[in-house]
């Protein structure tokens, strides 16, 4: 454990950039995966559009929710003037800026609207039923697409502006960029939570057009925030293994990330449980249908896996201080949580696509690699364009010296 007498300092001679050969190797691998996966995706789109879109939506949401988590976290750190996280901030922002390609990646969902969403068929909601007037007005292709464009625009602007502010700080206007970041973060957080909630309802909940849950948007978001911290831990550990970061991210920072991983695990479980218990207790047919479906056949095992794997296991592991400070345990838990986040989205989306049970499809692999490689490429190119630590922030030395008592 570092002590007051041997505090790591930001090193002027250290560039906080990846070695060029390592970067090139990563880029080549990502491009090869991207080309192969998108060829497979195109084949899937042409031959089996229904299964393709189901799998695509799962993995599109997987990476998008992580991007939401990153945006949320960057803004929260600005608003709370957190010092401990500054040394991690550029990595957070590099994950955040991957939200930029979302505009393009939403296209398959927009084009396949009538395949994926039952309500997109004309006359789906009985035009003579006055109870469905609101659903008719809300869930129709033109309004759905207008909303989607608004969300994508809002996220794009937020991610871009916050990223811009941070990288101009590297050039030396410390104070100005801190106040700019705060000015954007306060309304940004509000706008983000509203658009994220609505996007969760639009893109995922409406797969089951008659089912509704008012907490649903928060549920999708909480999983994303958790998965973001898990990914951040893995990225930091990978860069540490590559020797690219010096010692700017110490075990103290990993300990704090572990606390967040723990807290957000509990948050996700709290939201998931609140949703389940209220529906269980009210016992209304139109609400219980969602869980009833997921308690049948092989979906039942996936439901149980989420209770144990998405909550109980990480909760018990992360409870101990020693586990959060042990980088192997923390890294394995983070990787496990990312897998569980994928399973959570399978559980939310795919019962509407394969009603009879859980099964992995080859398109799951193709769409995961396709969406993931594009997010990965944006991340990889951004990672090279700026130092991986916000070197212009005057609080950086204090952040690196951070200690848990």
């Amino acid at each position: 454990m570092p002590t007051t007498t041997s505090v790591p300092q930001p090193q002027a001679a250290f560039s906080y950039r990846l070695e060029e050969s390592l970067w090139r190797r990563g880029r080549n691998v990502l491009w090869i995966i991207a080309l192969a996966a998108w060829a497979a995706c195109l084949f899937g789109w042409a031959t089996d559009r229904y299964n393709f879109l189901g799998s695509y939506l799962v993995h599109f949401m997987f990476f998008l929710t992580i991007g939401w988590g990153a945006m949320f976290f960057v803004m929260v750190q600005h608003l709370t003037s957190a010092t401990w996280s500054i040394t991690l901030r550029r990595l957070m922002e590099t994950i955040m800026i991957t939200v930029a390609p979302v505009t393009l990646l939403f296209l398959p969902v927009a084009l396949g609207l009538d395949v994926l969403y039952k309500w997109a068929a004309p006359g789906f909601f009985d035009p003579h039923n006055p109870d469905l007037a609101f659903k008719r007005a809300f869930f129709n292709p033109p309004f759905f697409l207008i909303r989607a464009v608004v969300y994508l625009f809002v996220w794009g602007v937020l991610a871009f502006v916050l990223y811009r502010i941070s990288v101009t700080q590297d050039e030396g206007n410390h104070q100005e960029s801190i106040s700019d970041a705060r000015t954007w973060s306060a309304p940004g957080l509000l706008v983000l939570t509203i658009t994220v909630t609505m996007a969760g309802v639009d893109w995922v909940m409406s797969l089951d057009p008659f089912w509704y849950s008012t907490i649903f948007g928060v549920y999708v978001f909480s999983g994303g925030a958790l998965a973001f911290i898990a990914l951040l831990i893995l990225v930091a550990l990978a860069l540490r293994a590559a020797g690219a970061l010096g010692d700017v991210i110490t075990v103290e920072h990993y300990h704090d990330l572990g606390k967040w991983l723990f807290a957000l695990t509990v948050w996700w479980a709290y939201i998931a449980f609140s949703q389940y218990m209220l529906i269980w207790y009210a016992n209304l047919p139109e609400e219980t249908a969602f869980f009833h479906h997921r308690a049948e056949g092989s979906w039942r095992y996936l439901s149980l896996l989420l209770v144990v794997g998405h909550f109980l296991l990480p909760f018990l592991v992360l409870l101990s201080r020693a586990a959060k400070r042990n980088l192997t345990v923390l890294g394995l838990t983070a990787a496990w949580i990312l897998v569980m986040h994928g399973m959570d989205l399978h559980w939310l989306i795919l019962p509407s696509v394969h009603p009879h049970g859980f099964h992995l499809h080859w398109l799951d692999v193709a769409t995961f690699a396709g969406v993931g490689s594009l997010f990965g490429l944006v991340f990889w190119y951004r990672l090279r364009s700026h130092p991986m630590v916000p070197v212009g922030d005057l609080r950086l030395a204090a952040s690196i010296a951070h200690q848990n008592q």
Binding site: T3, T4, T5, Y281, Q405
Partner: protein, 178 residues
Amino acid sequence: MSRLYGVVAEFDSPEALVEAVRKVRAQGFTRLEACTPFPVHGLDEALGLRRSPLGWFALAAAGVGVAAALLLQWWTGAVDYPLVVGGKPYFALWPSVPITFELAVLLASFATVFGMLALNGLPRLYHPLFEDEEFRRASDDRFVLAVEATDPVFHATETPALLERLGALAVRPVEEKA
């Protein structure tokens, strides 16, 4: 009648105090107390303090809370006075979770607060160090190290000399009133 409680040494910075604590411990001293105006990083480690067992108190109390709440809800609802409400089972796990959670949190909080008080001995109205008039500066601008006379390697003249060599601004004996 009074007897020697120990000596106090004043330092003017947290770094000097931590350094002095390390060196004093290297000489084999064990009965040490450090008093500072604010928490000093690295001091716990320098003093060789073990981690507090408080977390275990909280965990045990939370376990008791979970067991007590589940037992209460099952026994009242399904055994002692079974009553069908809204077509629900007499006892089911899911609706019992909120009460179980709340009782676990309540008992864990009690265990944490009262366990903390039991472990650190607060509230405490008197401590022998209060006999030293200058000691109150430990809550203002001085970092104080106290070495107790009961320490096996304590020596009435050599220990103050050692502390002075370590850079103490002032070293004073503290007499405890009998």
